[in-house]
Amino acid sequence: MRNALEVLFPMYDKCGFCDRRSYRNGMCKLCLKEVEMIRGSICERCGRPMGETTLCVDCFQRKETYFMCNRSAVLYNDKMKEMLSLYKFRGQETLAYTFSLFLESAYRQYYQRIGFDYITFVPVHEERLKERGFNQAQQLAFQLSLRTKIPVISLLTKTKNTEKQSKKHRRQRLHTLYNAFHLRPFPARIKRVMLIDDVYTTGTTINECARVLNKAGIIVYSLTVAR
């Protein structure tokens, strides 16, 4: 019945970025053309696309890595920058759906076999949350949870209100984020969690979150939309 109705009155999704008819992943053909999916061989640790499957320079040089690995769905190119800033800073919340589709495809590709206990997300400071009205990583985690049937748990809080990471250099990033995250009370038996964030650039945020979670004996895999 439903299929019959769909044939008679096809409902189509709109592209999350423009208003054209969506083609795949909640985006229209033209927008999708500008998005570069990550395929082929990648860095084992951080999911960066590379010629061969080894460690990339950044991961090799990093002193301590606390997360098992990171995987991302798409490249952080100009188009993605535009889309993420529309989502995060302008507040176009409908894009959460589009991004969660990207996350899902990356999850199916890399993480399907790993049995996660929970999905968790990178927190936002309370003041920032008040100002923005939503936590982008939380929204993405919820959307992904709906599609993968893995429950979401909020494990972290951010206690330092730091400036935007995107405005800083690599070394500054680590410095400001040190001890910015704290653990919340949680049920005892958690083995593996999937940490969700919107973008992985230097990996400082993810690593710092993972450090806190590692201390509590939780293994962290992270999944981000863009890399």
Binding site: L30, G91, L129, G133
Partner: protein, 533 residues
């Protein structure tokens, strides 16, 4: 932000900080027992939907007027003088402008009756109070107000209007003295050009409308009839009567281009141009040029609002959005609409005056329809379209230029590929093209002979000696207005006053029929009035 509503002396006020209100009433020397709190604290949109609680009158809590609170009041009084008047602003816009004591200042003005506080998005009416759009997204949980909340996606680019962010309608106090006091005898217009008889007639009509309170007029001028010149005399008349004028147009580049022309015509007046990146947003002026988005930031400020290209985006097929711009005019003010292709609902509502001919006294080019029922397949499969070689050969032989309009962005590349094989200097552009402006510039200079484009170039670009070809004119994307606009790209100069318009279509649609009829009617009217030879 959560608000409380209360009544004093049967007048309702909204506040998010009762202590300031009590301070204000104490300073006013207002004591008594007529205070009633009518609703619990909630976000504005929720407050609007709540039933008024029945509460017993209470005495107004007295606030001691100690130096500290007096200082707070004085700070607020000082900040009030900086609040721009006659605007509709979101809290965050006001905050970035004032930054110090803005909450107290706007509250003070509210208590004095100078500000209406509304939710950015009204959940009761399912409408955005700023842009008037009724496409509100489903409710989501909002971390700012902690309640179910919604935002308006239509005016997102001007900052997020949410159900919990207050929108302030700041009234513009009427200048003291009677209306029509400082009337100047001579005007401000310093313009040497002359109007055609049809333009003059429309101009006179517009001037006479100014003397009737609250009246509107639609000037229906064919493409290239010179709408801008028509508004000079009405603007002059309004300025002479000591009134404020705003000219709103949908496109930013038109605002930038128009500003020096208006300034030249009115050398002694202050003219400001408002668009997204403008630095003059908070200035006061006699003549304000604004994009329609910026026009939404005003509230009952102007006596004459001229709305250019009323049928263009963002109004296209969305009559509600007019209200957002009409809000910029005072209730007694006048509205002047300009359009080449006015929508039907506007024609029904408002009296109009026509300018059916261009200054060179030649008729408009009537579209010629060529049928090809395999057209869509041919474009998609990249097989040659039979009529195209004839048209292109003519264009190159006669040394002309041409617009080729297509309905979809994807077709631009396909068609350019097909044409570039045989003919030189062919290029294409569309809304996502980063070099669009550069290509239009090259087209103007004649380096590009044939420009394949989507509807984005249907307005504004005028080039002498051009023809227009519309591929798949029966597409649902092209309505009557856009077909007329595209046809209006031809014959703009006296060197080549008519030009050719060709519609390639598989069938005749209602839009095609109406567009052709509209052009023919205009030509007939012009002939009857002796405006064309």
């Amino acid at each position: 932000m959560n608000f409380i509503s209360y009544e004093i002396n049967n007048r309702t006020y909204l506040t998010w900080d009762l202590s300031f209100d009590f301070l204000f009433w104490a300073a006013e020397g207002f004591v008594g027992d007529s205070f009633k709190q009518t609703a619990e604290a909630a976000s504005l949109a929720h407050l609007e939907m709540k039933k008024k609680q029945k509460a017993a009158s209470q005495p107004i809590p007295t606030t001691p007027l100690d130096p500290l609170s007096l200082l707070r009041l004085r700070k607020a009084r000082l900040a009030v003088t900086h609040i721009p008047r006659g605007r509709s602003l979101l809290a965050e816009e006001l905050e970035t402008f004032l930054s110090v004591a803005w909450e107290d200042a706007i509250q003070l003005l509210h208590l004095q009756g100078g500000v209406d506080i509304l939710p950015g998005v009204s959940l009761k009416h399912q409408r955005c109070n700023r842009c008037g759009s009724t496409e509100i997204l489903p409710l989501t949980s909002c971390a700012s107000c902690g309640q179910a909340c919604a935002y308006c996606p239509s005016c997102l680019q001007m900052g997020r209007a949410k159900a919990c962010t207050p929108l302030f309608y700041i009234h513009d106090p009427e200048p003291k003295g009677e209306r029509g006091e400082g009337v100047q005898q001579q005007g401000y217009l310093n313009w040497k050009g002359s109007l055609t008889p049809a333009q003059q007639e429309a101009s006179n009509e517009a001037v006479s409308v100014l003397h009737k309170e609250g009246e509107s007029l639609l000037v229906w001028a064919v493409c290239g009839a010179g709408k801008t010149e028509v508004v000079f005399q009405p603007i002059n008349e309004a300025l002479r009567l000591g009134r404020k004028v705003m000219l709103a147009t949908p496109r930013k580049d038109v605002v930038i281009e128009l500003a020096p022309r208006i300034q030249e015509a009115f050398p002694t007046c202050k003219v400001i141009a408002l668009h997204g990146k403008s630095t003059q947003k908070w200035e006061e002026a006699e003549i304000t040029l604004a994009t329609t988005h910026q026009a939404m930031r005003f509230y009952q400020k102007f006596d004459l609002v001229i709305l250019d290209e009323v049928d263009a985006f963002p109004y296209h097929g969305n009559p509600i959005l007019y209200h957002a711009v009409e809000r910029a005019k005072k209730p007694t003010g006048n509205m002047l609409y300009l359009s080449a292709t006015p929508p039907r609902y506007l024609l029904r509502k408002i009296p109009h005056v026509k300018i059916p001919a261009r200054y060179h006294r030649k008729p408009l080019a009537v579209p010629k329809i060529l049928y090809d029922y395999k057209l869509v397949r041919r474009v998609k499969n990249q097989t040659p379209i039979p009529h195209i070689p004839t048209i292109m050969d003519y264009i190159y032989k006669e040394n002309r230029q041409a617009f080729v309009f297509v309905p979809y962005i994807e077709w631009v590349e396909q068609l350019v590929g097909q044409l570039a094989e045989k003919w030189e200097a062919v290029d294409g552009t569309h809304s996502r093209d980063r070099d669009r402006e550069e290509k239009v510039q090259r087209f103007r200079q004649g380096e590009i002979r044939v420009l394949v484009t989507t509807t984005i170039l249907e307005r504004g670009v005028t080039i002498p000696k051009t023809d227009v070809v519309i591929i798949h004119a029966d597409s649902t994307i092209f309505d009557e207005a856009s077909l007329v606009q595209m046809s209006g790209r031809t014959g703009r100069s006296s060197i080549d006053p008519i030009g050719h318009v060709i519609f390639l279509a598989a069938q005749k649609t209602r839009a095609i029929k109406r567009a052709v009829k509209q052009i023919q009617t205009m030509n007939r009217t012009a002939k009857k009035r002796g405006l064309i030879e």
